[in-house]
Symmetry: C2
């Protein structure tokens, strides 16, 4: 990695002024950076150069990559709707290796442990570096300082923004599709690898120079719905299996069994109720983690008891959100990704279960985005500091093990609640300073732990709303002290060097923090 | 209008080398012009500059135009889903007049007699010129040579292409919406002015610098489906009425009652059957004209009798296509615009009735388009010549009275049939040379009249397929002679000057012909 000047951003975090040869803008504060210029755009195509019968099927992924002009140094992208059951990311990287290509930038919307083979290809020089979420081994590899380029972590919305604004130019997008037709229309609601929507690949399909759809379920034109439009697709490849269905959607999403966490989930539901957020026409989002799922169930009971109906709930959808929709407790599910088969089927069959994209829901450099209209979101975090800044990508030992997902984008909701255990593996979660600042405290309204709820002092309205409610409201420093007392003081600082190995982008494309090589 | 060099294109038509200050490419032949460069793109926006609660409603259209920075000389666009029942086009133009703006280019996807008031605004200098279909009085005005700039006629696909490729830069798009939410999500399937889809405005919403949605049916976020995405919308204006529902969709679409035309419709259905085109899994498109509707009914009877099912039919949908869908005679309707309330309701309620856009169906400068995948289309024409070239925009007197619609785009089907009466108002329809060459003969396979079917000699396969079928196949020159005999010879040539007042674009953006000022 080239030596790099490091500058201090508006949150006093040290960030490199240049990343992978591109000049960076340090984070300037929420809503402070105003972008200039026009959006990126793909080359103009010509239907005369495409088959008149609409059949774009080619023999193999290699043939498609050849046709699309794959060259050394290009950027190739994949999506992560198949999560840890994805086969196509590896197919692509192996094909690139077989074709003898070098120094590629791999730009997945997220990578998972199943993509661990990418490490070997980085060692061999096929892949230069990865920009995108690196869950598990690839993130670990990055924090060991072994990647040739710097990792760049973006939220779902930030990834859209980066493509849209031309910060990342995708040369060839490879889109795994559970169902597709020979023209390239594709969706995620049908076929053996059904995963719901394909919208993490939507920006790639719109902005990449070349687009390849890979499917194991080729249907006759037209493939309906066309979440990916064939009019943007250059070639279609049919393979045996695009992924392992058992890992794509599990069919069972686990609610936490821990009594403490159940209590926390219940308390958050109670908070929404007592703070007056849970009222007719409201909206909320909760993830698929154990606490979040339990929260949904507790909230649902309260909604039923009080006769409250939501206007919309945002998914990551699960069985529990689908049940709310089917029981008339919400008008709509607006869904970025389905986490189980109930979600997939509901998205396929219920017009009120609507697939959203990072553009609609999360893109900050647009004319607004859905995230700001949410009344409440319940999210997780690995660490929170006493100023409500939070970390979601590294552990306290400094290892990069998680992606940002939609987390940063959701912080713009009207009431952002981080549900965290106060202690994790005997390490306090509320710290003086987070290892990696992924979300600015000014956007985080409540830190909810099993030992009490800490409301951000700037949200006087929320503090007033729950006054006398009997809810366990606590000052965050008081809560921190409690956990320090239990754990025997502050957590050990991470053993890190002064060499940045990855950066965390804010939703507007500025750099909010760095991830450092571990010593 | 500036004096202008005129050059001969590949079809030997004289076309201006420059139009409204922009250099033109003369038509080079079907599939011959290969575009260069990258697509146009709108400015990058910033959610921080939009209301966090998603409410973009402003007081009035004037306030919205003010906010969007309307200035002299800008290009403002509207769509034509309301056809002759549109109110919003006039609202926009009147608001511009009231605001004292000058020299605007109005860029409707089509204009109708209801927009006749635009003439006064052209006289006053508010509107400099119109690019877009001019049905009726505005087209007539144009052929009188009274417009300050040149008219530019584009097909639905060509309009998308022109916006996409940056040939036409829309400064402010004004989108009339039967239903919308305060964020700007909008659709055409709900509300008193329901018109089906809004996809004629889709390119405008994606590429314009600023986008205003005008609705008379504001619903709570989220407006589902969002045919127009609020993330592209700057402002929302609520008005009493966006249009006259009785003129938007009539609820009754008339089948021809003329015995001769009914016979023609039946013969075309028979042709599709006997030529082997009507077979399981086939596809077709027919418009909403009297002959086309009758053709659909005759074809349907044949399909039922033979147990044939289509894979998809393309609309302009009507009751008759909807019945085919509901009776299981087609898997899908792929629909660009609904022509009656049955179409609107079906599009709203039936997931197999799919709204398409000019991008999916018609955009030539894309990676293919649906039009080439159609097995057959039945279209109209005002004139056809003996080389199968056809005219769809002017009458034989040279007056410009019709838009192109999707007509040019549909010519790419595998069997393009023009259904025309052999004689219209005592004027022969098959001529030596068409007044305005809108579609090249090489793409027109059959000219079908009540006096017989003329198959393009280059379609030997079709001639072979119907040999011995008993169908009334005729040589086109023979048919021409018959009608000349009846009408007493050639039609009078139009009395036209050598001053071009409008150009007809081909689907690739090149100029295929000119419309001349009438003497």
């Amino acid at each position: 990695m080239a030596k790099n000047e490091v500058v201090k951003n508006a949150l006093a975090r040290l960030v490199p002024s240049e990343v992978n040869g591109k000049k960076q803008v340090p984070f300037m504060g929420v809503d402070k950076y105003i972008p200039q210029g026009r959006k990126a755009s793909p080359p103009i195509s010509c239907a005369g150069q495409f088959p008149k019968d609409g059949n774009k099927v080619v023999m193999s992924l290699e043939a498609a990559l050849e046709q699309c002009g794959l060259r050394d140094g290009m950027t190739v992208s994949t999506h992560h709707h198949f999560r840890n059951g994805d086969f196509v990311g590896n197919m692509l990287l192996q094909a690139c290796a077989k074709m003898g290509k070098k120094d590629l930038m791999w730009f997945p919307s997220a990578s998972f442990p199943c993509h661990e083979g990418a490490i070997e290809l980085m060692e061999k020089g096929v892949i230069h570096h990865i920009e995108g979420s690196m869950n598990g081994p690839l993130g670990d590899y990055c924090t060991q300082g072994k990647m040739k380029g710097m990792g760049v972590l973006r939220s779902h919305g930030g990834r859209w923004q980066a493509i849209q604004d031309g910060e990342v130019h995708v040369d060839i997008a490879v889109i795994a599709a559970p169902t597709a037709d020979p023209f390239g229309n594709a969706n995620g609601v049908g076929g053996p690898a059904a995963c719901g929507s394909l919208n993490f690949a939507l920006a790639d399909s719109l902005y990449a120079d070349k687009v390849i759809v890979v499917t194991d379920n080729l249907v006759k034109f037209p493939c309906i719905p066309w979440q990916i439009q064939g009019n943007n697709v250059d070639a279609v490849v049919v393979v045996d299996k695009v992924g392992d269905p058992s890992k794509i959607v599990s069919g069972t999403t686990e609610i936490t069994k821990s009594p403490e966490r159940l209590l926390l989930a219940e308390t958050i539901a109670e908070f929404l109720d007592k703070a007056g957020i849970m009222k007719n026409g409201f909206s909320f989002q909760a993830g698929a983690g154990g606490i979040a799922l339990a929260f949904v169930l507790f909230l649902k009971e309260r909604m039923k008891k009080k006769g409250v109906k939501a206007r919309f709930v945002r998914g990551g959808s699960t069985k529990y959100l689908v049940e709310m929709l089917n029981e008339g407790l919400t008008d709509y599910i607006l869904d970025g990704q389905t986490f189980d088969l109930y979600g997939v089927e509901s998205m396929r069959d219920n017009p009120r279960h609507v697939a959203t994209s990072p553009f609609t829901s999360y893109n900050y450099n647009g004319k607004g985005f859905f995230g700001t209209m949410l009344d409440a979101v319940v999210l997780g975090a690995t660490e929170v500091d006493v100023n409500f800044n939070a970390n979601v990508v590294t552990h306290s030992d400094g290892r990069l093990l998680h992606g940002i997902g939609g987390w940063q984008n959701c912080l713009f909701s009207n009431c952002t609640i981080l549900a965290v255990p106060s202690v994790r593996d005997r390490i306090p979660v509320i710290v003086d300073e987070v290892t990696t600042l992924t979300g600015p405290g000014e956007l985080i309204d409540v830190v909810a732990t099993e030992r009490g709820l800490c409301i951000n002092p700037k949200r006087k309205d929320l503090l007033d709303a729950v006054k006398g409610s009997g809810l366990p409201i606590k000052d965050i420093r008081e809560l921190q002290k409690e956990t320090y007392d239990i754990c025997g003081g502050k957590p050990n600082p991470p053993k890190r060097s002064d060499e940045p190995v990855a950066v965390v982008k804010w939703v507007d494309g500025t750099v909010i923090d760095s991830v450092w090589k571990i010593r």
